[in-house]
Amino acid sequence: MELCDLTIHELREKLENKEVTAADVLDSFLRRIEAVEEKVKAYVTITADEARERISSDLQGSLAGIPLALKDNISTEGIRTTCSSKMLENYIPPYNATVVEKLNEEGAVILGKTNLDEFAMGGTTGFSAFHETRNPWNLEHVPGGSSGGSAAAVAAGEAAAALGTDTGGSIRQPAAFCGLVGLKPTYGTVSRYGLLAYANSLDQIGPITRDVEDAALLLNVITGHDPKDSTSVQMEQADYTAFLKEDLAGMRIALPKEYYELDYNPEVKESVLAAVKKMEAEGAVVEEVSIPSIEHSVAVYYILATGEASSNLACYDGVRFGYRSKTAGNVAEMFRNTRSEAFGEEVKRRILFGTYILSAEAYEDYYVKAQKVRTLLIKEIEDVFKNYDLIVTPTTPETAFKAGAITDPLESYKMDAFTVPVNLAGIPAITIPCGFSSANLPIGIQIMGPRFGEGKLIQAAYSLEKILQLGNKRPELEVR
């Protein structure tokens, strides 16, 4: 294994012991990028020069010298932030997202900005206006999305870890597709300041890492109250690494029967259930529960998310920054042409859908009703957590599929069935690899916890990771 295949904590140890220098580490990653990026296409912008410049100073902190990647919908001062959209192709923000400030304070080295489905709308990273990203486990397959660039970069050794954003599964689904750990924190624990919004009430930034320990390390850095985000919660700074212990004894695990009765890839279902069995063998108590409203999650999610998105994306009007149509004769035309020319198909579809959802004619029937179902779902999930510590499901109903295999939007929305309830309920969830399909594609298991239950989540995931021992498996990319 090369340095670029190691975890954050492994790199940290080598750096602290002075076995290697930050320059050695950075070189290893840049060499890997040089070798595989042409095939994987994980990045929109690679900031190699800035990274070299950065390690020339004496970096301090828990991430000192660790090369990381950022999803390109996180605002970076002086570095273009595109949301993989023609609309923002040349937009250079004048400010850093709060998470970027936090990474900088801890000495992290940013390697670049990773590809995503335009404005985080999609599950394949195929809706990027620039290029498709491919899955390092099989280059004909999608890496998932919308944080597909971040997941592919980490899986391919093009970054030690990455930040993604998760509105309906956009961290967990690509992490699962790429054989990684992905964590969607409790809503309000990580500042959204500087996250270019898709759906504000659901969006949350989180880590995509090679193992659970790295997820805990990154979580320690990026969580915390931010006065710039009014939805950020007041809380004491937790040390999530304190939960890195192998102990499942007495842990109460709920399996929602609605999910296990569904018809989907049997390899996925079997792999997840096999992992659950192993947890049970280690002392966990596993029981079936019912969460009746969970079957409406996808519908509720698309109503609320697109409603919010239609408003959030209205600011891309060509007036102050980003793309502006050259063919407009007046202001109304400037708005119309700018948006027609610079938004992609899926973004337009969701804006139109959301605009209708919020219209006077549809608001009560759709938006208000969806909010009510969301409230009901939250209550049902809270009720489960009165008796159980965790809820366990597959992360995705399928493994990574071939690029271009799913063209019907409704089909693709169904892929979010297991992930969206987490965002609707504002709870945390983690995905870790639990096996591989016969086609050697990773399978992810999702563990959900109650609000602010990241600690238990990490403990269970860490324990399961140790039981399964899949940690050292890496995709075999043809290297130039």
Binding site: I74, S75, T81, C83, L88, Y91, P93, P94, Y95, A97, R192, Y193, G194, L195, L196, A197, A199, N200, S201, P227, K228, D229, S230, T231, G307, E308, S310, S311, A314, C315, Y316, D317, V319, R320, F321, V331, A332, F335, T355, L358, S359, A360, Y363, Y367
Partner: protein, 482 residues
Amino acid sequence: MSRKYETIIGLEVHVQLATESKIFCNCSTDFGAEPNKHTCPVCLGLPGTLPVLNKKVVDYAIMAGLALNCNINSYSKFDRKNYFYPDLPKAYQISQSDYPICENGYIEIDTEEGTKKIGITRIHMEEDAGKLVHEGSIDQATASLVDYNRTGIPLIEIVSAPDIRTPSEARAYLTQLKQILQYIGVSDCNMEEGSLRCDANVSIRPVGQKEFGTKTELKNMNSFRAVERALEYEVERQRKILEEGGEIIQETRTWDESLNKTISMRTKEEAADYRYFPDPNLPPLNVDRDWVERIKSSLPELPREKRERFVREYALPEYDAGVLTDSRELADYFEACVKEYSDAKAVSNWIMGDFLRLLKEENLEIAEVKMTPAHLSGMLKLMDEGVISSKIAKTVFEEMFKTGKAPEQIVEEKGLKQISDAGQLEEIVLKVIEANPSVVEDIKSGKDKAIGFLVGQVMKETRGKANPGMVNQIIREKIESL
């Protein structure tokens, strides 16, 4: 307006709050800075930025609500009003839709039929938009520039109930509203700088009819006078249409000051669907009792209360009390004087007379006046002590107002001290009697009023400094002894 129809008017008033910083960021609210100086990523609506509510704005909105007799809602929330316009950076305005901070208040206005209550339906908080600057006229401009300094300045919108029945009541409502808001210091209510803007809804209906007629909304009125005139025009326009058997169209009309008429802007069918929904970036606002109590205890006395108290406490005529309480500053000035000189009516006369005249002539704000309340009461004491006459007092007053010098100093420097020395006055009186024998004869024969002429002559001799009471007395004595 003929007796056949009744007018129904409701007013929507937008008021810029006088907080130091904007409603959702820390930028300054100063007026008149160079374009786009007071902006940041938040108020420019740069992607990824988030609003953080300025608590001072809530304080001010609560103050306004309490001063306007509203209920302060313990739960209110912020909503997005979505529309595209270049001066609106996020393409939505953060406002309050179905749960405003204040509801169900009223204002009392004075009408010819006495005091009338005008209901206030609601007060809500929102952010202001920027300002477009067109190159040339708006129709011909090839480009427009946007100044975002105003973006995010806090506003409250105060919506009246449809209780206003005449254009002059509308004006009285606005005048009273402005006075109250200025009193409590939440806004300077300067219409020229756009810190107070008013839209009006107006409809008419046959007297006796219960249902409202179709209303029109009037915009672009830049003074209270313009509001009154636009309403007068619009009521008349609607009456003519109805009398000719026509129908009123629900529409928005703009007041054209130069043409003196309202012009159709857009009909109801063309009205935008603002797609209001709760802003997910701002949690609901909870205002507890303590918060309201804290604001209540900081609220100053309001104009009407003060007026009533002035009548009661200082035994002033209603008229005087009204003039003196017109602004909080004037009322404070008056009270500071009365503290040191108890004849309130005398103080009132000086303030309502020379003080306000000079204020207007010199175009000053009360805060800029050099003469202190102590100076005015000091001057009144000098009059009582006979040091200066009332005539001289006018000179002293003007000098105090212009220079800010103490009355004693002015009297000393200008030699204005009243002559109360009996010997000195006798000498002058004798001279005057000698010079006016015929007048003396008149007085002797019973024309008592003629004494005034002789007094005037003595005053002339002394350039107004003679003690008029003493002069009068001495003249009588001398004539009797002749």
